[in-house]
């Protein structure tokens, strides 16, 4: 498939992609994925899962060891310059020059990205407005907060109006407000410009909120793929959590709820995974009808962490800690 036949002009197609480092394990171990034009694809996984290596290969910074990858219809091995012309990239570390201002960065980036000279200033102003950095535009980046650096990084990735955008953990380390700002911006880009977005993240919420489809990667392999709803549905049913008024009520509530599904371990409340076809309203009616006294009832939908747990046997958080300690162990050796 090539750009010339127009099949995947804004899409990404990866087949059997492998990337090995000289003295390490396979960072990416034969992954297949396809991102449709205009789609936001969330690539979810813990630290060290292979997310950033995949981004480096797809953005032409690293050659693959095996397999094929087409970005915008172009082959990452043969057509590096063509791919670089149509993608925008914000890598994991917002690589900015602390001595330059936002405006200096935009000027440099737009020149190197071949934005026509007459449009550079207008484009810079437009992007500064868009990411809310107008007031800070002439201040050195050294004084920026983490959120401001990320927003500038995003503006730089957009300077040449790319058709495909790669965002490698764009909100890691940001406060909730800055994170929401980035999410809004990414959603807006897709809505207004139809940009295809390949977004890596270790945050379940981010993948859930932003992504049309999610690929879950662990130890270099994709372990699950689908829309967040599909993935959660694969895990199955929601759970109901009843909060007792007193500790003494707990056994009675547990016995009552057991008729609606299998009990779940919980110290805070009494929880059951609902049987197929049952919902919160069924439980509320039964609780009322039987005069069971509870302080509150909550319905918990399955999360992507449940999906990760089901596919890998670990929670996302646990996998991240494991990866961190393995990394430390390797560094000690």
């Amino acid at each position: 498939m090539t750009a010339e036949n127009g099949i995947a002009e804004n899409g990404i197609e990866v087949r059997g992609l492998v990337r090995e480092y000289k003295k390490g394990p396979r960072a990416v171990d034969g992954i297949d994925l396809a991102v449709e034009p205009g789609e936001i694809y969330g690539f979810l996984g813990p630290n060290g899962a292979g997310k950033s290596t995949t981004v480096h290969v797809l953005t032409t910074l690293l050659p693959p060891t095996a397999g094929t990858a087409l970005v915008g219809g172009y082959d990452v091995v043969k057509d590096g310059p063509k791919i670089r012309g149509l993608i925008g990239v914000a890598l994991q570390e917002a690589a900015l020059d602390p001595l330059l201002t936002a405006r200096d960065h935009l000027r440099l980036q737009s020149t190197l990205q071949s934005v026509p000279k007459a449009q550079r200033e207008t484009r810079a102003e437009e992007l500064l407005h868009r990411v809310g950095l107008v007031d800070a535009a002439d201040r050195k980046v050294a004084g920026y907060s983490g959120g401001m650096k990320r927003r500038l990084d995003l503006a730089l990735a957009l300077v040449h109006s790319p058709r495909i955008l790669f965002l490698d953990e764009p909100t890691t380390g940001l406060d909730p407000q800055s994170r929401t700002d980035i999410w809004n911006e990414v959603a807006l880009m897709r809505r207004e410009a139809g940009v295809t977005v390949f977004l890596t993240t270790q945050y379940l919420e981010e993948a859930d909120v932003l992504a049309d489809r999610v690929g879950i990667i662990d130890q270099g392999k994709i372990v699950a793929e689908g829309t967040p709803a599909e993935l959660k549905a694969e895990i199955g049913r929601p759970s109901v959590h009843a909060i007792p008024r007193t500790e003494e009520d707990r056994p009675k509530i547990a016995e009552f709820l057991a008729q609606f599904g299998e009990p779940l371990a919980s110290t805070r409340d009494v929880a059951v995974r609902l049987r197929e076809g049952l919902g919160l309203t069924d439980i509320v009616r039964a609780v009322d009808a039987n005069g069971v006294d509870v302080a509150d009832l909550e319905l918990h939908a399955p999360t992507l962490d449940d999906v990760f747990l089901a596919k890998t046997g670990r929670t996302l958080e646990g996998a991240a800690e494991e990866a961190d300690s393995e990394g430390q162990e390797q560094r000690r050796r």
């Binding site: 953005t59 032409t60 910074l61 690293l62 050659p63 990452v76 091995v77 043969k78 590096g80 310059p81 670089r84 012309g85 993608i87 990239v89 890598l91 570390e93 690589a95 900015l96 020059d97 001595l99 330059l100 200096d104 000027r107 440099l108 980036q109 020149t111 190197l112 990205q113 071949s114 050195k140 730089l156």
Partner: protein, 258 residues
Amino acid sequence: MSTTRTQVGAIARRAIVRTSRQPASIIPPLVFPVALMLVNAGGLRSSTELPGFPTDSFLAFALAVPFIQGALFSTMNAGTDIARDIQTGFVNRLSLTALRDWALLTGQLAGIVVLGVVQVLFYIVVGLTAGVRFESGPAGIAVLIVYGAVVALAFGALGAWLAYRTGSGETIQALFPVLFVFLFISSMNAPRNLIGVDWFRTAATLNPVSYMIEAVRSLIITGWDWQALALGFGFVILIGLASLFLASRALRTRMTRT
């Protein structure tokens, strides 16, 4: 696609802007060599009374040293800046644009050359202000400026090679004293024929830095010494070509984009 000239200009402009915003990168290469020269000129003034000393002004004799010493400072600064770009991922950012490899190197070196010329102009002004007479006249001063640019280019390429090869600012800083050794075992403080210690005279004779200094010195105190100029330019050009070759190779390895 932006032209190579535009790319080189953008990278050079960045190098100049960021250096101009770091007083620590500008002031030491200007002040320290001049301060060392003034100290030496004060302490070694009596050397001019030695039979065969080529001038009666030690300041005129010593003025050549800042040209090379300043270039060494600039080399370190340039190398450290490039290494920091590698460490922070800025080179990756540049790799993801349409920037050509050699346009990046040329742009960085162009920035170093501009700053090198500024340094040379400063040393010339210091010399003229201190009453040094340039025997080669205005044309000689023009040649000095060109020579300063070539020295900055050669040493800048050396710094760039070290930076692309190691990717570590600390390693480059650690090499700084090594380069300074070359300066101190040269003819910086005495003409080679007047160095009394045999091993030192031999080392100074084998050291290319001696010839680089003597080319500058000839324009200041002798006039037009074609042999000194040929040796000075020759060594600088040789070092420059070797460094450029190594730097461009290291850059290709560093920018592993497909």
